[in-house]
Symmetry: C2
Subunit: 208 residues, 2 copies
DNA sequence: CACTAGAGATAGTGCTACTATCCAGTCCGA
DNA sequence: TCGGACTGGATAGTAGCACTATCTCTAGTG
């Protein structure tokens, strides 16, 4: 398969494919001459994966690269791959110098997670996301304490438990890794979209 | 309060405040002279709201403006405000010319929503989000049909029902509207973050 | 053997969210 | 009352991102 066919198959413009290769998201084809190369089904799949992460997951190129690197790291356990993917997906890394206010609510969040009995790494970026959300809620509505999160935590726990129990159609390690990572991203979008639809449904029943 | 004080209070740089005023996100202060103006608590609150939508919700300036316009539209019912906010939040509007493939899965999604008994508007952007997600799942793993979404739909339904039943600390219409819209955005981030933590927890138990 | 197509390198584009500079006017302490 | 810091408003500049266009040289094709 030549590049133009790869492009047609995946509906990605040729210059964009070249760009992805330059950026290291996509391996170059196997050369068949000084200026010809051959692409295969692996390229199609990888390209589709990139587009899903970009368009459904809304990730930036740098994030996509990190996710792909995690997927490709054969020496990592599934748990480690998922952890790396989570780091890559996070909107907020640990701030270099968090404000005292933020540090304060972060402690509340940490204690909350502790109380749930969840064993998660101390540097999980989601902790900071929660802290920022809680700080905003405190400042604007005087919401006190992370207990507001409890119903969401229960729901998240149930969802995650059933997700981790599910298996991909293709049971190889590579297939499993892809399934886990893309599942995180795609079903996140699904859950968000469904929550909005459900909100509209209940809002109609209540206010309209 | 002068602009520099507003800036200090909210930790938003002065040029950025000016920018928000230019862009119509923030009303200008009441002038006390040819080049002096006075800002009040309303400005502080609105500015914080803008930052929450930007930083926790990850919205762009144009999206923030639409959300604020919905909040300010006194003549709309709560249900209408929420609908407008959802439109503003959506990553994907209806494509001008959807591919036949996408249109096909969109029909599956519509039927799925119908079967749930949810009454949501036919042009809800979340329908397209779901269609794109389903198309990606089909193409990469041969997932067939929107029934994959069922567990998520049940969870979303429960979450939304309890959310719509909750009341803000401040019960005025303006307070209620802010609460609903910001709640949509902030608790979405919360739910996402908690799902990731829960995934890590279960992944550790299973794979590590 | 003209001509389309391909690969790779380099440079340019359009958009977004700020950020910097400038200016005339104002405030305020010595 | 005067000088320096500060103000609001206008205009221009910047950095980052995700492509997109162009150029050059080479390969295959009717």
């Amino acid at each position: 398969m030549r590049m133009s066919e790869l492009s047609r198959e995946t509906e990605v413009p040729v210059p964009t494919v070249k760009y992805y290769i330059r950026e290291g998201l996509l391996p170059s084809g196997s050369p068949t001459g000084p200026n010809q190369a051959e692409y295969g089904q692996d390229h199609v799949r990888r390209l589709r994966l990139i587009r899903v992460l970009r368009e459904v997951g809304g990730l930036g190129i740098a994030q996509v690269r990190k996710v792909l690197e995690a997927i490709d790291a054969e020496e990592l356990s599934l748990h480690e791959v998922l952890g790396r993917a989570h780091h890559a997906l996070a909107p907020s890394e640990e701030p270099s110098e968090p404000s005292p206010e933020l540090a304060r609510v972060k402690e509340k969040v940490d204690r909350f997670i502790e109380d749930l009995g969840w064993r998660v790494s101390a540097d999980a970026p989601a902790r900071w996301t929660l802290a920022e959300a809680l700080l905003a809620l405190e400042r604007m509505w005087g919401v006190e304490g992370a207990e507001t999160f409890l119903p969401y935590a229960r729901v998240a726990d149930r969802v995650a438990a059933s997700e981790l129990a599910s298996r991909p159609p293709n049971g190889s390690r590579a297939g499993m890794v892809e399934w886990m990572v893309v599942g995180t991203v795609v079903y996140e979008a699904v859950l968000t979209a469904l929550r909005r639809l459900a909100q509209e449904h209940h809002s109609a029943r209540r206010f309209a």
